[in-house]
């Protein structure tokens, strides 16, 4: 029998997933086996903005969830929770990623940076933040943390981008206010400041 067909049997999704989730662990227990290699422990330590913090993280938890609800870092915004807008962009080992579409457990060994971690210890704004203020890049500001993290990631990889390269670098971030032009102006200015 084709298991793909039976897997989608008519059962309420939630019940199915809850029951099934338990069933794999039960399977291992029933078979007298230890949990297989690779089973995740919930209590983990993650490095966010240079600080190592202990957090209880569910296996399925997204990084955005951990940052916002467990660590109180609400600068990372949920615009769509689908990887379709970019408002939750953070840096994972310097690489811009959508925090709504990355599991916290997947990045527990990585360096995570959010918009809250950019200012220097004495409170000076990061060059990208400074440039965005000077160019008045944000409008409503909801996409701004994501735009900033994408821009910081871009400038780390390419400190002197052309305007076109900057445009490609910010391509994964929607701004519904349409402030793209001002964000690009900001990135170009940041490249000069930085």
């Amino acid at each position: 029998m084709n298991p793909k067909l039976t897997r989608r049997r008519f059962i309420k999704g939630v019940i199915a997933s809850g029951a099934a989730a338990t069933s794999t662990t039960i399977w291992y227990a029933a078979n007298g086996a230890d949990r297989p290699a690779g089973y995740v422990e919930r209590l983990i330590r993650i490095n966010v903005n240079g600080q190592v913090r202990s957090v209880d993280v569910a296996p399925q938890e997204t990084l955005a969830s951990t940052l916002r609800y467990k660590l109180g870092l609400t600068g990372t915004k949920l615009g769509c929770n689908r990887g379709e807008c970019g408002a939750c962009t953070v840096l994972v080992n310097d690489i811009p990623s959508y925090a709504c579409s990355v599991l916290t457990h997947s990045v527990k060994a990585a360096r995570i940076e959010t918009v809250e971690g950019l200012e220097s210890p004495n409170g000076d704004l990061h060059p990208v933040q400074q440039a965005f203020v000077e160019e008045l890049s944000p409008q409503c500001g909801y996409c701004t943390p994501g735009q900033i993290m994408a821009a910081v990631g871009l400038l780390r990889a390419n400190p002197n981008p052309t305007r076109e390269e900057a445009r490609q670098g910010l391509a994964g971030n929607i701004c519904r206010c349409g402030s793209y032009d001002s964000y690009l102006d900001g990135v170009m200015r940041a490249a000069q400041i930085g």
Binding site: S17, A21, Q60, A171
Partner: protein
């Protein structure tokens, strides 16, 4: 009764094997209950919507053996969990198989390419919006297609090879790999099988619920690209509504070997016109041995769409596909 909007990850187990044997063992044990997780960019939406309810995720990206790009005796091998950004930026891929580098660089958005893997891009599920909405259509194991009807919103759907389901292959890298005559390395706890890229994908007439021939317990671990088409003349173009995020309305990947203005050999594949990347063999045959010219491009373009069966809102794909073939042939 269902609420129409879920967006929180439900309870699900996660396994993060760090070596190949463990991953294959987990895949074998969990079978259909184990969801293979690459970068997850095509996964989390399904899970948040609770439209797919596997019991566990098996994350493949911690396995170093399945990462990276290396040169082999007769070409290159790309680990299946190599990110699309790495592929797009890799000097070896760029210099020898620029077609794939370009295609990988046109996927979705930078952040998705930073996390998304080649394997995930190839094995991703159909993007038909009815299916994605969680409706119990044929592809979801149901008994109906909502898109293939006079009123269905089928602008993005198939011209060819439809069989009850009219969804198309959404992958950008798939047509490139078909054009490059790549081989998929598929492993399971029972061993390894090598599958030509073209045969890796499966249409609804043969399997209406899966997009690839992977069986439960099998994992795509690497893609091998032979030197056969290295440094050929490449053409990749993806036409989408928006230039970021959107899936192709039609895409084309072409590898053409030209000598003295004469086409020695050619391999072309189109994306988003069929449930699998559509290899254009008739066009290839018509090209071989011919002088490359605009006239030739126009002639073969018509061949490319022979047999097309447009739905109510996707007639434009016929001229679009023809035009992309023309562009590929013109170079």
């Amino acid at each position: 009764m269902v609420a129409t909007s879920h967006d929180v990850m439900p309870d699900i187990e996660l396994y993060q094997p760090t070596d190949e044997a463990n991953a294959l063992a987990l895949a074998a044990t969990l079978g259909a209950d184990g969801w293979l997780l690459g970068g997850g960019q095509d996964t989390y939406g399904w899970l948040k919507d609770r439209n797919k309810t596997p019991a566990a995720m098996i994350e493949l990206t911690q396995i170093d053996a399945w990462k990276g790009i290396k040169e082999t005796a007769d070409g290159i091998e790309i680990g299946a969990v190599t990110t699309l950004t790495e592929i797009a930026n890799n000097p070896l891929v760029q210099s020898r198989f620029g077609l794939l580098a370009t295609a990988a660089g046109r996927v979705a958005s930078p952040q998705i390419r930073n996390v998304g893997t080649l394997g995930g891009n190839l094995a991703q599920d159909a993007r038909c919006w009815y299916y994605r909405r969680g409706l119990d259509c044929y592809r979801a194991g149901g008994n109906i297609c909502y898109a293939d009807s006079p009123e269905g919103l089928n602008r993005e759907h198939a011209l060819f090879g439809a069989s009850r389901c009219v969804a198309v292959s959404p992958s950008d890298t798939a047509p490139a790999l078909v054009a490059l005559d790549a081989t998929m390395v598929v492993r399971s706890s029972g061993g390894q099988r090598l599958i030509p890229a073209q045969d890796f994908f499966v249409g609804p007439s043969r399997d209406i619920v899966n997009m690839t021939v992977l069986n439960d317990g099998e994992i795509l671990t690497a893609v091998r690209i032979p030197n056969t088409w290295a440094n050929a003349e490449f053409y990749f173009e993806k036409v989408a509504d928006r230039n970021v995020w959107d899936f192709a309305l039609v895409s084309i990947a072409a590898a053409i070997k030209v000598s003295g203005g004469v086409i020695q050999d050619a391999r072309l594949a189109c994306g988003a016109v069929e449930c699998v990347p559509r290899r254009l063999e008739a066009v290839e045959n018509a090209l071989r041995g011919k002088q490359r010219s605009d006239q030739l491009a126009d002639q073969v373009a018509v061949i490319a769409t022979q047999g097309a069966r447009p739905l109510n809102y996707n007639h434009f794909k016929v001229p679009l596909m023809q035009n992309l073939v023309k562009r590929a042939v013109r170079g």
